[in-house]
Amino acid sequence: MNDHYDVLIIGGGPGGAMAGKAVAEAGLSCCIIEKRPAIGTPVRCAEGVGQEIYDFIDLDPKWVSAKIQGAELVAPNGQVIQLSSEMAGNEVGYVLDRKMFDRELIWRAANAGCEVYVKTRAVDAIVENGVVKGAKVEYAGKIRNITAKIVIAADGVESKFARWCGIDTVVPMAELETCVQYLMTDIDIQPGVNVFYMGNEVAPEGYVWIFAKGERTANVGIGISGKKCRDGNRPKDYLDRFIQEKFPDGKIIELIVGGVSACRPLTSTVSAGLMIVGDAARVSDPLTGGGIINAMYTGRLAGEVAAECIKEGDVSAAALKKYDVLWRESAMGKGLERNYQIKEIFIRLSDDKMNSILGSVQKIDLEKIGTKEIVKELIKYNPWLLKEISSLKKILG
């Protein structure tokens, strides 16, 4: 490990890996540090991604567990809404094997020339006159100062680095989806179909997912709002009740837990010498919880902008701002704001209203229409939505 790099990246998830690859491909020196002993494990993910994954990587059967052709939504009253491959839009995609996938991304970064160190933890930031200059790093039992022209914080939902640099990264409790998932086998599922259960009884302010990983194997998980957690009503309690009813004979072969931010992104994802990407920047989708692609997108963009700024000799906040502006103006950035507002509406719905909304989904031709159009169609069938929730007008422009 050197004492200085052009770019130092904290965290070896999809965000960090994509940033490392972009910086190395631009011919600059860079290093990813990852505090865990192995990349990709333990997994904190349901592993679902849409077709957009092709914008970043060609899929390989090695890290794809299942191809998904359709989705089912189960309303609180048990009504099942089927979204076929033509209708499901973004829901169609893949269930990854993230242990393999994350490793592949890191391997690609390393292959491009980025150094990678596991079991190496950032313990503090080095900041001089308000400019981030590097990190204090615990490596092989010793604390070392590693300096860099730019540090990219890709340290995920438990991000501390940006906080050490003086940025408020706290996720409000009500906007933290707290999750538990079992990898279950020997269960009756529909291979190739992802199922979502909704309703305040099943998953308050969240949902239960069954993401098929094979013929009789699936990720069965739940996310609920942090503010709904109580003793006896924690995500694990809800999930245990759910599987007791649906899959009483299933075998649990893995337990994972996690947090997903469902808040707005950080108000700024740069400061002098610092860029923040992926979950650390709070860019997971507030409606679905999906964050893999957003982490890859922001990671790659941050790496590209970092390389550009270093080559131009300007790592000021103003220069790095280009990254912040670009992602906010992108389809991803606009989608985050729209989905945040839609989420705010959905969490206030009673089960009756949710039944009514989900019931009308069946009447809508979902093929080739985006979230905005779907919401417009929903209002057509549920005019009370617009009356009750004036903020919808703003979303629809």
Partner: protein, 61 residues
């Protein structure tokens, strides 16, 4: 005072991301708490998906 049941913790970071004081951190496979910073607000205990945290004198949130 915050107590951590390490045998239950699943190393997920949910609690770290909501602590308003930055008092929590995941170090190796363990959650650690900086007792000087912790103000016993109980927010972290509320969001833990497994119930690994407990605050003795949890204030009402």
């Amino acid at each position: 005072m915050l107590s951590i049941r390490r045998e239950i913790c699943g190393y997920c970071g949910a609690c770290v991301s909501v602590c308003p004081e930055g008092a929590l951190e995941l170090v190796d496979a363990y959650l650690t708490v900086d007792a000087d910073r912790c103000r016993d607000c109980g927010i972290c205990a509320r969001v833990c998906p497994l119930g690994a945290l407990e605050v003795a004198d949890e204030r009402s949130l």
